[in-house]
């Protein structure tokens, strides 16, 4: 079967969509109150070294995905064990993203509808996308992202009358510690979650460019996230952390001359698009991982069943929205730390050591 390929542009669009996916729903840096935007910047600064490591890993083994790299660096047995851990992590992230979406729909739009309905609908969409493959996902992201940018731009402009930039003061009023704590939460969700992309960027057409893709992606997405966070703080003030969905709340306050109001549905569109891309990427990487570990002919043969299990898992994972928020900001950063930082650093060090050996044996 011909290997799937995506262009740099498609990869960047996927990356941006992935970052803004559930970030715009849940918001980041709420614990730092009106310093949330500083926490976001702190999170990005913390993420940059890790992105360098991720892109270096991809550059060391061009055309290889996360699971190939694990196999090469850690050997067959250990590689499979760590690959299984990564499959579990990626699957868990996908389920959490689906759950974020389900809670969002259940809380703001359809409170009487069982949460299972939005979950299965989005899960079904992700299954279709993953069965069609990364190329289709890449093209979808390329077509939709300009529309998303347009919506975000218009909404930001319409929010200007509601902005009260005094809410941003006092800068560092509570000290540096809450900013760094929230920055750490922002680092792990969403910036370092891009470790998942090591499993996707093996399909890049031009293998020289993973670092370019990573850095252009993080640059554009961080600008979006920072501007959105500043808008949220400017509209909601230090009550930002009290809302489950701060962006939705901030946009719902837009009222231009009593005629342009209730435009939060546009934000919901952005959320749905972001969640679709993020959950699809997670499902894709989980299926590719299982395909590699169990040496399947084609990862597509298990996509439907894995997608269904992801939906069921997202249904049972939390009992309510409060648990979800507690998990996302208090527990998740520590849970994800080994997958986002410790294991990638170990693999990177081993990859640097084994890289020469691998290519010398390949040449022979």
């Amino acid at each position: 079967m011909q290997k799937e390929r995506i262009t740099d542009k498609q990869a960047i669009c996927l990356f941006i969509s992935f970052i803004i996916g559930s970030t715009l729903i849940l918001g980041i840096g709420g614990e730092a109150e009106n310093d949330a935007w500083l926490a976001t910047i702190a999170g990005i600064i913390m993420a940059v070294p890790m992105l360098l490591i991720y892109s270096r890993m991809l550059a060391l083994f061009p055309g290889k995905g996360l699971f190939d790299i694990l196999n090469i660096t850690l050997g067959n047995l250990m590689g499979k064990v760590i690959a299984l851990l990564y499959i579990m992590y990626v699957f868990h992230v996908g389920a959490l993203v689906l759950r974020n979406f389900g809670e969002f729909i259940n809380t703001v739009a359809m409170p009487e509808t069982p949460i299972f309905v939005p979950l299965i609908c989005m899960g079904f969409l992700s299954i279709i996308a993953v069965r069609l493959g990364i190329e289709v996902l890449g093209r979808t992201a390329t077509y939709f992202l300009p529309i998303i940018f347009f919506i975000l731009l218009i909404v930001q402009m319409l929010a200007i009358p509601q902005l009260n930039l005094n809410y941003l003061k006092p800068v560092l009023g509570n000290g540096l510690v809450p900013v760094l704590k929230s920055g750490f939460a922002a680092f792990s969700f969403p910036f370092a979650e891009t470790v998942v992309f090591i499993g996707v960027y093996g399909s890049l057409k031009t293998q020289k460019s993973p670092s370019k893709v990573y850095f252009l992606g993080i640059l554009i997405s961080s600008i979006i996230v920072i501007i959105t966070t500043i808008r949220n703080v400017g509209v909601l003030g230090n009550t930002l952390g009290n809302f489950y969905f701060p962006s939705y709340e901030a946009v719902s306050r837009i009222n231009i001359g009593d005629s342009i109001e209730r435009i939060e549905v546009t934000v919901a569109t952005v959320f749905i698009y972001g969640v679709f891309i993020k959950s699809s990427i997670c499902l894709l990487v989980a299926c590719k991982g299982i395909g590699k570990v169990f040496r399947l002919k084609n990862y597509r043969s298990i996509v439907i069943q894995m997608g269904l299990i992801m939906v069921y898992f997202s249904y049972i994972v939390f009992d309510n929205c409060m648990e979800m928020k507690y998990w996302a900001f208090r527990v998740y950063p520590y849970y994800a730390f080994p997958f986002q930082v410790i294991i990638p650093i170990i693999i990177w060090v081993l990859a640097e050591a084994k890289n020469k050996k691998f290519y010398s044996t390949e040449k022979e």
Partner: protein, 69 residues
Amino acid sequence: MFVLPIMVYFILVVFDLLPLYKQKSRRDFWANALIGTVSFAIVMLLCFNVKIPSPEQPIRELITSIFGK
């Protein structure tokens, strides 16, 4: 309520699982069958309103015991 998932899984067996057997992709067939069985078991439990324990709680307890709340 359980009739609907049974019908859906029957369709999946016919259109997703059996073609793998016919294509002689044995590994893919067994992987699909295994994951499908797990998935079917979970959906049946959900249909009968059985509370399935979430892994979120033990992970949360472990992390809060190490790092505090």
